[in-house]
Amino acid sequence: MTERRASFDEEALPHLDAVYRFALRLSGSPDQAQDLVQDTFVRAFKAWDQYTPGTQCKSWLFTICRNLFIRQWERGQRHDETVADNTRPEAPGQDVGNPLWSAVADVDPEGRFFDSIVDEEVLRAIDALPEDFRTVVVLSDVEGLSYQEISDMVGVPVGTVKSRLFRGRRQLQKALYDYAVEMGHIRGTHGRS
């Protein structure tokens, strides 16, 4: 094994699970995720000389993974899925709390209804988000990346990251809440019986 390979194995490979999880959420398919992960790591290894040791290896791998995914995705299909979020970037600052939570607070202030939602349904709801929203929500809420790291990765300003996070989370919260109401895990608060 070359020295280059040894340092790659030491710094990059520990992120295999995280990159796989990310690829799984990007593509929605275990088969495609595996291909994506393999391409990501091989590409990262070939570009290993460009990586600055000690910097955020995980975000660098995520960036490669997402770029590969977007390229494949642009080549094929699903153009309708991109988010036209430059039309009206909803300023999170304008908001005064989620109106849905104001209503839920009366019946379930701890949010116990979330616990009753099975993983498959949560994943289905995440996968139903447009890619631009899905990526920032997963990177922030699951992988714990900072706004700046996500901004560097996705190539949009921090303000756009915040606005996508805001809208993506709201959309997802609404979907999970509607599901929980439908399943009878929580009493509806929007005039539903």
């Binding site: 595996q34 290894f45 949560v122 809420d141 699951v142 999970l176």
Partner: protein
């Protein structure tokens, strides 16, 4: 007004909710972070917002955090890397 301790000032509900995501995302520091925390500590009306957002996050982590890379992917990848290392 110089020299007063900003962290002791109570901010409004509107203000606290405006910074809710930044607070939860660990993007606030120093006095603003303390002010938001102090508000949620005492405000019964806003506290559920914090709690519900935290539960939402927990459910995403539970659902997404479990899968590990399958062993066949790992062996496939190691073979591909060994190949790339040669050339």
């Amino acid at each position: 007004m110089a020299g007063r301790d900003m962290s002791q000032e109570m901010i409004s509900c509107r203000e606290a909710l405006r910074f809710l995501y930044e607070f939860l995302d660990g993007e606030l520091e120093g006095a603003p972070n303390e002010q938001v925390r102090a508000h949620f500590d005492v405000c019964q009306r806003c506290y559920p917002h914090l709690k519900l957002e935290a539960s939402f996050r927990a459910v995403l982590q539970r659902a997404c955090g479990t899968p590990c890379a399958p062993p066949e992917l790992k062996s496939r990848l190691l073979a591909a890397l060994a190949e790339a290392d040669k050339g």
